[in-house]
């Protein structure tokens, strides 16, 4: 996507636009435990996920719910050696920090789905910044909108999903 960004950005942030950042592997292979818990949490009786024969017929075996894509790259709350809590969407927090905008909200979230995610898959996620706006004032405060995405690929390099977010980082007026 062509970036339409403000020309008053710090050079460091301007350099991030269009660049692959935070290329990371998921912390564990995809497994069905979270899938079943999600089905339970949403009382979802879709036989594609409960009936092995249906899964074999339609998808060549079990798959995860497509909307669970972000589940797989959300870090553990704690893991050995970690001194700070890990946060998903690190790019969003980097923008808040570098642009001096301590408050932020996400306004839009779009997910485009590709190849189904299957148990045993090992996914790679890549965060990409597409654009950062000029300073704008909204009812929340004065700040900037940014559009960024997370590309998710499986171990074969197949695109499983791309998430797109619009965030607004701001200072309270």
């Amino acid at each position: 996507m062509a970036a339409q960004s403000a020309d008053d950005l710090p050079e460091e942030v301007a350099g991030w636009i269009g660049e692959d950042r935070y290329v990371e592997k998921t912390e564990f292979p995809i497994e069905m435990g979270y899938v079943l818990t999600t089905l339970s949490a949403t009382q979802n009786g879709n036989p594609l996920y409960w009936d092995e024969n249906v899964a074999n017929d339609l998808t060549g075996g079990p798959i995860a719910l497509p909307t669970m894509v972000s589940v797989w790259f959300r870090p553990h709350d704690w893991s050995p050696g970690r001194t700070e809590p890990a946060v998903p969407l690190q790019l969003h927090f980097d923008l808040k920090d570098r642009l001096g905008l301590p408050e932020a909200v996400m306004s839009d979230n779009t997910i485009v789905f590709g190849e189904p995610i299957r148990p045993g898959d090992e996914l790679t996620t890549t965060q990409v910044l597409y654009s950062v706006s000029a300073l704008k004032t909204t009812k929340l405060g004065t700040g900037r909108f940014w559009d960024f995405g997370v590309r998710v690929e499986n171990q074969k390099g197949e695109l499983c999903a791309e998430e797109r977010y619009t965030g607004f980082g701001y200072n309270r007026d």
Partner: protein
């Protein structure tokens, strides 16, 4: 869960069946844990009300996404394959709310290999609150022997 929906069953302006579900604390907490969302506003009442100024713990977005998927595939049956989904968060969903999902077909078009594309606008409300707006694009078969899940590569362009 319906039998598999065919493209000929769908027309622009048609309504999806309404789904209502009461939200309990366990609905919020189970959904947050299932989606690996450890943030305290989804399980800690004191944090949610004291630090965030909320009325209670709140449903998290990834779990709401899964509720939207459940709502769509209840309608399409298991052959329904989600291609794209977009959310706009407007208000929070709390324990004690009754979530209501209501959808309307906004576009129908033919696709490749015996599938069709259906665009749906869904509104999640809770009482007088409009909580989440959602636009979704889902592939469904045009005939009983077609399978949207079989599409790969350039044939799958949601």
């Amino acid at each position: 869960m319906s039998a598999d929906l065919l493209l000929s069953d769908v027309s622009v302006g048609g309504d999806l069946p309404v789904l209502q579900k009461d939200v309990k604390p366990v609905t919020v907490v189970l959904g947050a844990m299932a989606s690996r969302d450890w943030r305290p506003q989804h399980h800690d009442y004191k944090f949610a009300t004291g630090n965030n100024g909320l009325d209670d713990i709140i449903m998290n977005t990834p779990n709401l996404a899964a509720w939207f998927e459940r709502y769509l595939t209840d309608w399409t049956g298991p052959k329904g394959r989600l291609g794209r989904i977009k959310f706009r968060m407007k208000d929070s969903v709390y324990p004690g709310d009754t979530m209501q999902f209501a959808g309307k077909v906004t576009n129908v078009e033919d696709g490749p290999e015996g599938i069709g594309w259906v665009d749906v606008a869904i509104e999640l409300t809770a009482g007088d609150k409009s909580c989440v707006g959602c636009e979704a694009r889902v592939a469904i078969p045009t005939s009983a022997d077609a399978n949207p899940w079989s599409l790969k590569g350039d044939d799958w362009k949601p």
